[in-house]
Amino acid sequence: MTAAATEMRTPVKQSRFMRRALPYILSLPALLMCIGILIPFFTAVYYSMLRYRMNLPAMKGFIWFQNYVNFFTDPKFWNTVYISLTYAFLTVVLELLLGLGIALLLQRPSRFNNIASILLLLPLMTAPALAALMWKLMTHPDFGVLSYLLTLVGIHDFKWASNPDTALFTVVLVDMWVYTPFIMILLLAGLRSLPKAPFEAAALDGVPRSFVFFRITLPMLMPYIITATLFRLLDSIQQFDIIYAMTQGGPGDKLLVFQVQAYLDFFQATNVGRSAALMVILWAITYALSNVFIKQWLKLRERAHGAH
């Protein structure tokens, strides 16, 4: 035994350097990715302080915060802020209510409910840009099935996205179609992970169901609701795909949300400075929101890990 043991000793040295360097080598791609994000980010910040129009290269110059200052007196900018916030608010509130409702309907894990919740994943798996196209076909003035259905209830000539008064409604509807399932899935997972004991106790005591819902279910579900809401809010305030595919920001300036406006500023007006300034402002909004969000999220994450 001892002989065998001594013979086995073939000291293979491993370099201390390699051992120390391992974490850094492994995370190198992620580091490069960070750099790949940070360089364009700082470039954008820099551009936002330039007078920079690609069609007028001679005018290019550093103007500090003039692009931002201009926004204050720019009704187009305030229109963008207004539309973006309205869109975000409407989609999040409606999706939250609908998603919560569906999650409550499907709460009990029966076979039918499980199949239904799987089928409801499908809109979420549809590319938002393609979803917008699908709804465009369904709301077509000539043959759109939805336009036809409206005539059955006596609404004629409903112009959907091409009418300034109903354009917002239309894109919000598409957004709801795509993203309500996201909230539904999160809340369903949350509902099904709630401890059973409080509900059983309440049922034994004959507590009214509305009381159970508002005093037990809702508070316990709150972390999930907050997470899902902030997730959607951050996404929704930056919505581009659905709106661009549906109307390219029109009709008129009706749907010129932040990203669509910045896109048009950049590629149509070729006003790089203004476009970059818009994006930096949107970034600041999302950054502030996401800080709130990340705190909530980490809390929930801790809980999820703890439950393991």
Binding site: P23, G36, L38, L137, L186, L282, S290
Partner: protein
Amino acid sequence: MDHSSSLEKLLRSVAITLVLVFFLFPIVWIFLMSLQTNETILRIPPSIAFTPIIDNYTALITGQLRTAAGSLQLNFMQNMFNSVLLSVCSVALSLVLGVPAAYAFARFKFRLGEDIAFTLLSFRFAPALLVLLPLSLYFKTLGLTNTYIGLIWVYQLICLPLILWIVRGYFEDISPDIEHAYRIAGNSWWRTFTRISIPLAKPGIAAAGLLAFIFAWNNFVFALILASADKQPVTVGALAFVTASGIQYGQIAAAIIISITPTLALALYAQRYLVEGLSMGAVKG
């Protein structure tokens, strides 16, 4: 909870049915449209009584679209090929790069790791155009505009953070003792990583890979800005379709159905991973 009255049961069923109709009707309707000629599509009232045709699909596959204005060349299959290539390569690259990095973040507590994690986390919700617009100018300088390599490279912005976050959570759930035991048993770090850590994190890697694929496939804005027609995926390609003059509506519908089938099929096939990935990505991270 189980003594709900039959009236309540009825109301529940009606509500669920309405929900299912709202969320599934568009997919079903577009599918039906894709099997019709322009004539039957344009009928008022619309009807589901028609003889299904597959001409729209064959036209898309052969690239010969007959329109009112004559024959039109539209290479939708090229878009489809681009989508497959971009999504598959992006996810593959992301897995190769992201899984080891996720492991490093989960196992080694080091300053740089924390910084990277924080940066990626705080940019996770940054507007895409903030990075894309300056990048489009850099791409022009570097000659990467409208190249697969350039696109796969920026698609990492979609896939890599997703994989990092989800897979990291799974690695954290593996007891370090299991890895230690394998090493002490005489295996190198790399062998331990490939034989123990990766197999044990497989559900997480599958979920993350699946989600990354779907997100890459469904992406619109990256290719809209950085690619021209011949390199564009279906999401952007289908949009160009709508504006093509004199195109048949059935063909647009067929293009949409072809474009969404891969992700929908994947979602149904692997829904368990998908739900896990979604809730991990959102909740567990």
